[in-house]
């Protein structure tokens, strides 16, 4: 039976941001002057959102994978022999894909460097604002620009690999196996383009001298997304090379 008392106890939920719990992270609105939220709360929220989004993308590739595996074992009707035959012809992947993989993995390292620099800048931003204090940064190399370049190089390499495949007769509609090669590489490419756009937004944000915190959040989640793209690519490559 319920009883009514006058003693107040509040349990603190594990993920509560405390008294400021209600506000969205400022960077999504461009509200740069907004500092009432601690950085770690904003960063955690953005990372959580990214993680949830990645789960959604993973489901897309899970369904492609299941379609790929099921299709391999499926016999099809052949009208000439009037019987069920296995028509799966394994595709020989172009060697170029290894080169592309290398480029993408290197870009994963460069974006990590960019992400760490953003974190450092955010940490030093308070100190730097004190008059007379100057922070000497290692700004000689723009890791961000380098990542964008490597990303574009990867995409160009993928396009060349596509042409090579098509030249050997494995164009998209040629066989079921080649359809899947184009599908998986193409969908990965589309998602990578999304990452490139995010990188460009992050670059514009740093050029516009948005607050170091907002830059960090943007850089951080783009970085994690880019790492996810690299892992996803390695997965696709392994799938296409070894499960054929």
């Amino acid at each position: 039976m319920a009883s009514y008392t006058h003693t107040a106890t509040i349990e603190d939920p594990a993920t509560s941001t405390g008294t400021t719990g209600g506000s969205p992270p400022a960077w999504v609105d461009g509200g740069d002057d907004f500092h009432s939220q601690p950085l770690d709360a904003r960063l955690r929220r953005a990372r959580l959102g990214l993680f949830v989004g990645v789960v959604g993308i993973v489901m897309i590739f899970v369904s492609f994978t299941s379609a790929y595996v099921v299709r391999q074992g499926l016999p099809t009707f052949d009208s000439r022999t009037n019987s069920l035959v296995h028509d799966w012809i394994p595709v020989r992947l172009p060697k170029l894909l290894l080169m592309n993989t290398f480029v993408l993995l290197v870009s994963s390292i460069t974006i990590e460097l960019a992400r760490r620099r953003a974190a450092r800048n955010a940490a030093l931003a308070q100190v730097a604002s004190i008059p007379g204090v100057s922070i000497r940064g290692d700004e000689k190399i723009s890791w961000l620009a380098l990542t964008v370049t490597l990303g574009l190089l990867f995409l160009a390499g993928q396009a060349m690999a596509w042409r090579e495949l098509a030249a050997t007769g494995f164009y998209i509609s040629a066989t079921p196996s080649s359809s899947f090669v184009f599908l998986l590489t193409g969908m990965h490419g589309v998602h990578l383009v999304g990452g490139l756009i995010a990188l460009l937004v992050a670059g514009v944000a740093s050029l516009l001298h948005r607050s170091a915190q907002s830059q960090l959040i943007l850089m951080d989640i783009t970085g994690w997304y880019w790492h996810f793209m690299a892992v996803l690519w390695v997965y696709i490559l392994v799938l296409l090379e070894f499960v054929r």
């Binding site: 349990e11 509560s16 209600g22 489901m59 897309i60």
Partner: protein
Amino acid sequence: MAGGTGGGETIMATREFTAHETHAHAAPQGFIRKWIFSLDHKVIGLQYYFLALTAVFVGMFLSLLMRIHLIWPNITLPLLGDIKPETYLTLVTMHGTIMVFFVLTTAPQGGFGNYFLPIQIGAADMAFPVLNMLSFWVTALAFVVMLGAFFVTGGAPLHGWTGYPPLSAVQSAGPGEGAGADLWIISIALFCIGALMSALNFITTTLDMRTKGMSMMRMPLTCWAWFITAILGLLAFGVLFSAGILLLLDRNAGTSFYVPLTVFSGQIVAHKGGSPLLWQHLFWFFGHPEVYIAILPAMGLCSQLVSVFSRKPIFGYKAMVYAMLSIGLLGFMVWGHHMFMSGMSPYSAFAFSIMTMAIGVPSAIKTFNWLGTLWGGRIRFHSPMLFAIGFVSLFVSGGISGPFLAQPTLDIPLHDTAFVTGHFHLIMGVASIFGIFAATYYWFPKMFGRMMNESLARWHFWLTFVGTYCIFMPMHYAGMAGQPRRYSQFTELHYLEKLIPLNTFITFAAFVTISAQLIFLVNLFWSMKAGKKASDNPWEATTLEWTTATPPPHDNFGGHPPTVYNGPYEYGVPGAPQDFVMQTDPRTVAAH
């Protein structure tokens, strides 16, 4: 009438606060920023709601045309002319697609979820407002593209809302299977993108934006329902998206994912080796969770309303949460029951059948908990409560035929008959629609600051409640008598002649029920302008949306996020000054 006494001191307190300093974005001033490209979750919620309202009237109009054609197949309609068999299939397709995606998925989650999830957990907005705006506009674009399918050469597609290939995958398969089918797939893909972004936002908001004291187990069951629905959406819509991409490639890039070597209109298609069953697996892996995406928000809302209007705590709060979670989980393991007729192995069919019937257990837990809450309550029969009880009724009537269809031996004769049409319309269609109505009547005072007209609402309820039963109950009998689904014409089939009077009755019931929705429409818009002014807490409910002003300010709580001390359903607490204790009331209620 539940008087306007409000929540006591709590409401008085929030009135005094005017500051906006903790909100990330200032209240927009111009019309376009405020009402069109708004970042405010409340405006986006209303945008979703009115999108669904538009869609539901389009969908209802299409269903009326179908009912007219079924009993008067040779009639020439003014402006529309004859309904040819292929036109009938177009109506079937577009009615189903529009209703499932743009009404049942859009209004309960996108509409009310967007508006009230942040308020009920004490947040100022969704976690990512820009993403929220994008979700809505992508969904709206998807709707425009979907309607566009009516106006291209060949018209809208005729492959049904399930879009089974090869019919949906071959351009020459039928009059609507050219540009119309492409637009249909593109629209679905866009909808998936919108739904995924929205799911991401809902999950992050629920996990990370709760105010101080709002632990997961203090959330109203509505929030739990929206949260679980978002998880289902996140896992399901990606799969539908993938399936749609494969279909687009088959249609436009010459691949053969779905299309086997086959003949259409005397011509061999340019595909070979594809598997139509692949689509069915992918589609129903999405399609079955989609049923729960449509009904879970209504379940959450019904739990809320049954408690509020019975003036009793919800019976078994934790059981309700776990039941919803297990419905969500099991929902992903039962897609095969849509495919018993596809030649699947009897062993798989057996497994899918067992899993499907297992869903009956959490569903029964929910039903009995609703009844347990009603039992001995001091029930206030306001219009939201009528629709909530109507929901329970429809949920039981529609749900009980589920275990029938879940058994392969029974499903084989019943498959693709009107029995199935009756079953899923009751449970997925009308039950969720009742959830939407209940939510509208319940939250209208908070959204627009006025009460809806109660007597019009009662007329609306009784006509709709009796009307929908008159439409969909007889369909079960028609199905058992062998009336097939999706046939444009059956009046000339000798063995179905005896069903013509029954079908005539259904059509007239549909006329009356659809006309009754005009009462709702009039009530909705009239009450916005001229309804009685609502107090801040007209239903004497405990959750956070009733502690704030009406309509809520831009950041929901006037700059002061609430602190939560109590669970969401503290009604009839002994010793309390009123029969309800607000969630923000610092004098806590000890554990029951």
